[in-house]
Subunit: 217 residues, 2 copies
C-alpha cells in the first residue's frame, strides 16, 4: 500500500517534469537542478556564475526554500530574473512547484535556467523537475564521508562541485578520498573543486556550464 | 487525500514513539534525538560526549544513516553499545525504526541514549522517536541564515549546539545574528557554541546533558 502511494507520487511527478522538459527544449534553455546540504554554498555559486557568464548568457534562477525569500533577494541584486518558491514544509522541489514558477518567467528570454533546490542531501535527488542535468554541491566542511553516506545524490548528478576549498587546510577533508568515493558511485561524474570565496577553480565549472548551454540552443 | 495519508503516518508514528517513551521512562534513561544537516559534526559531538561523561554515565547510541555503518563503527571504538539503523532511502528516523533498534539494546544498562538522526535539516524534526528532548547541531560553515530558512527544527529543539567555532574566523558567520534569529523562533532554546575539534565550549553542553540525565533517573 505504502509503495503504491509512493509510486503514484513519483509517476505523477515524472509526467509534470516531462512537460517542463518539453517547454525548456522548445525554448532552447539549458536547465540545471542544483542540490546540496544546507549551507554548502548554492546561492554563492549561482552569484559567481551570473557574474562570470551573465554578459554572454541570459541566466534565470528559480529559488527553492522552506521559508523566506532571502536567497531570491540575493540573486535579485545581480539583476537576473528570479522566482522564489517557498515549499512550506516540503524538503524538496518537485515538477509541479517548478511548473508554477515558470508562469512567472519568460523562458524565451533565457539561455540558462538554474533551479536551486531546498538544502537537503536526500529527497531532492528523487524528484525530477524537468532539468537537463542534476548538479550537486558538497562543502569540504561537511566531510569526505558524504559520497558513501548519501549515494543517491552522487549517482543522479552529472557534475559535482566541491566548494569551500579555502577551508580545506582547517579540516580533515581528503580531496582524493572524496573524488575516489564519488567516482566509485558514479564513474561519469565531472568533479570541480572550487572556492566561491576566492574564485579558485571556478573556470572548470563555468566551462562545463557553457558546454551545456551551447548544446541546448 | 494527500493530507489524510500524511496525518495517518504522523499519527501512527506518534503512537509508536509514545511506546518508546514509556520504555525509556520505565528504565530511567534520558534520551536525546540529535539532528543536523549532513556534516555538521553529530558523530564528533557524540564521541566528545562519551569521552567526557562515559566514566560517570552509562551511554548508548543509536546511529541513523541512509547507508553504511561508518558512524556506528566510529562510536563502537569508544566501547559504548551502539546500533546502526540504515534507512535505505528514508531521510529521517521514525518511531518504528528506533523501536526495532531497541531490540538490540539493554535499556536497563543505560543512563543516556543518544539517537543520531539522518543528516537533514527538514524531515527529522517532524517525527518523534520517543525522545525526551530534541537537540540540533548547526555548523558555522553552514552560515548564520539557517534559523530563518529552516525554522521547524529550531522550534522543535530544546538545545542548539553551534559547532566548528574554530572555523568562524574563516567564514562570514555572525554568532550574534544566529543566536538572535534562533531565539526569535524559539525563546527557550539553550544555545552552546562549541568546537569539537578544540574542545572549546563543550562544558556547557555537558552540563545541560547531565541535568537531563539527573532528571530522568
Amino acid at each position: 500500500m505504502k509503495v503504491k502511494v509512493l509510486a503514484d507520487i513519483l509517476g505523477a511527478n515524472d509526467r509534470v517534469a516531462g512537460e517542463n522538459r518539453r517547454l525548456f527544449r522548445d525554448n532552447g534553455v539549458f536547465v540545471i537542478n542544483l542540490m546540496s546540504a544546507p549551507g554548502a554554498g548554492k546561492t554563492s555559486l549561482i552569484e559567481k556564475t551570473i557574474q562570470a557568464l551573465g554578459d554572454t548568457c541570459r541566466v534565470g534562477v528559480i529559488e527553492g526554500d522552506i521559508a523566506t525569500a532571502a536567497d531570491a533577494e540575493r540573486i535579485g541584486r545581480t539583476g537576473v530574473p528570479v522566482v522564489q518558491i517557498n515549499t512550506g514544509g516540503a524538503c524538496h522541489l518537485d515538477g509541479n512547484m517548478v511548473r508554477a514558477a515558470l508562469g512567472e518567467m519568460d523562458l524565451s528570454a533565457l539561455d540558462l535556467l538554474i533551479v536551486e533546490n531546498v538544502g537537503n542531501l536526500v529527497c531532492p535527488a528523487e524528484f525530477n523537475v524537468g532539468e537537463d542535468k542534476k548538479v550537486m554541491l558538497l562543502s569540504v566542511a561537511e566531510g569526505d564521508d558524504k559520497p558513501l553516506k548519501y549515494p543517491l545524490m552522487f549517482r543522479e548528478s552529472s557534475a559535482l562541485v566541491i566548494n569551500k576549498t579555502d577551508l580545506v587546510e582547517h579540516t580533515d577533508f581528503d580531496m582524493e578520498k572524496a573524488r575516489r568515493d564519488s567516482l566509485s558511485i558514479n564513474p561519469s561524474l565531472s568533479i570541480y573543486p572550487v572556492s566561491c570565496r576566492t574564485g579558485d577553480g571556478l573556470g572548470g565549472w563555468f566551462g562545463w556550464l557553457k558546454e551545456g548551454v551551447a548544446g541546448a540552443s
